[in-house]
Symmetry: C2
Subunit: 290 residues, 2 copies
């Protein structure tokens, strides 16, 4: 490494990227084979193997678990449903601990069915996170609030900007409590996904505000022009308009030292040979980020 | 009007709502017939009649022109293209003046083809608006920057929050210059469209910051769950999740005294008898907004 050629960050594979082609065991093996040192499983994939077996297999292949996707989904119409969501989050924290995951990613949830009360949903998110924070700390698993693109505000996540996610962190965890004594990460922070935040005029300021202890994960893919589906038309690195080089530099300048986790939800890439998908990611990544 | 039953704001028809079914002459006649006292033409429809004939016909039918859609589209790859955009905006201002429009709505434009430089595009927008402001003032036509939903940042508009639009106003027109002496409206302000801003956690603060002189237009429709198309799946009032009542109250509390302009870009509603579309708007509007 020198000042002219910055180091290419380590890659991690979010399992959503090849979820239609492979099971978790195949993904773990493929990461090792393709020289991808990190993995971030979704819970549907984890359920196939069980957390204990998955953890052993990931360890045996020398991979880092950059996150577990996902907890969250707190807003619900009834108190009973909200309590069920909290209990499900507690189980997710336990699984993340078993995996030694760097964080549990929280996709916080949108409006309860039939509701137009966005402020109310946001309050339910706050209360839900507050209810699981103690368990997360005891388990040594940082919680990463992932602000989702505003186009998901109604149905997936009512936390829609990095500034909003950080204000929520400050409200619930005002002292930036380290996950354990001397640890780099706070018990509560954010997962920054390029797809969700790239448009935000306040982004640079928010990244600085987040700082090293709140920046728990960094997800990358690309925004396609034109985008044909709100959920399943995300782009391969380099195929879209996000300046991933600039954004990665800002994320790292703000103190993030972790992996570049590639998460591409795409009908197109789900139809491609998954070894080609991983090969394309490996090939595109350096030129897109440094 | 009393304190229990607030007044229903006056309606305006944005011509995009029935653009596939009617020409402008038909729309003007239909507004009068349906008791819709305002109209906001797009320039493609205006071109059919010409601004002078359209203005006479609108006047003859007693309608208020709540806006002309649209100027903007400033970013471009070459200086020549950017100059052409500015000249097109000057013509739009002249047409808006001929119509006596309350404002010219600016959809500012996205990234130039092949560009990933969002900051650069935003600077081109600033420079473009600054270049046409004098002509707008001389013509007596306020310019309304319309922040568009972040999902349009790449291809339609790189101004994506009300706060960002207001900062742009303050940068270009720091003294909130009235459009003419004693006028209620500033020469530069914003068009607030419920569809584009409803998700914004900073929305209430931004509306207060805007105030009466910057709030030049208020557009309404609804956000459908699920939304099947990024552009052409907007919802009829009441069919989605936007709390239009609350939002309208906030817009008016911030000083807006104008029309509720209905703009619904929707393949579905474009397939419906336009008299039914206008009848549905008239029927739904009071219950959705007060």
């Amino acid at each position: 490494m020198n000042s002219v050629t910055p180091r290419v960050p380590a890659l991690s594979l979010n399992t959503a990227t090849v979820r239609e082609q492979w099971n978790l065991a195949q993904m773990i093996e493929a990461c090792a084979r393709h020289g991808i040192p990190g993995i971030s499983p979704w819970r549907d994939k984890l359920a196939e193997l069980g957390a204990t077996r998955a953890a052993a297999m990931i360890r045996a292949n020398g991979l880092t678990v950059t996150g577990l996707c996902r907890g969250g989904m707190f807003p619900a119409a009834t108190a009973g449903q909200r309590q069920a969501a909290i209990e499900d989050n507690l189980r997710a924290i336990d699984d993340a601990a078993t995996l030694g995951a760097k964080c549990l990613v929280l996709v916080c949830g949108g409006l309860p069915p039939g509701s137009r009360d966005l402020e109310g949903a946001r309050a339910m998110v706050r209360d839900g996170i507050a209810a699981i924070l103690g368990h997360a700390r005891a388990a040594g698993v940082p919680l990463a609030i992932e602000p989702l693109h505003p186009m998901y505000a109604a149905d997936r996540c009512c936390i829609n900007t990095l500034a909003q996610a950080l204000s929520l962190c400050d409200e619930i965890d005002p002292h930036r409590t380290p996950i354990r004594e001397g640890a780099h990460s706070a018990v509560l922070g954010v997962a920054v996904d390029a797809y969700h935040v790239w448009w935000d005029p306040e982004l640079d300021r928010s990244l600085e505000r987040a700082g090293a202890d709140r920046l728990l994960a960094y997800h990358i893919c690309d925004w396609l022009v034109e985008t044909r589906d709100l959920l399943l038309d995300r782009g391969m690195l380099g195929d879209g308009v996000i300046d991933l080089r600039r954004l990665g530099q800002r994320v790292r300048a703000a103190g993030y030292q972790g992996f570049d986790e590639v998460e591409i939800l795409s009908r197109h890439w789900w139809s491609v040979d998954p070894d080609v998908v991983l090969g394309t990611i490996r090939e595109r990544h350096p030129a897109c980020v440094v």
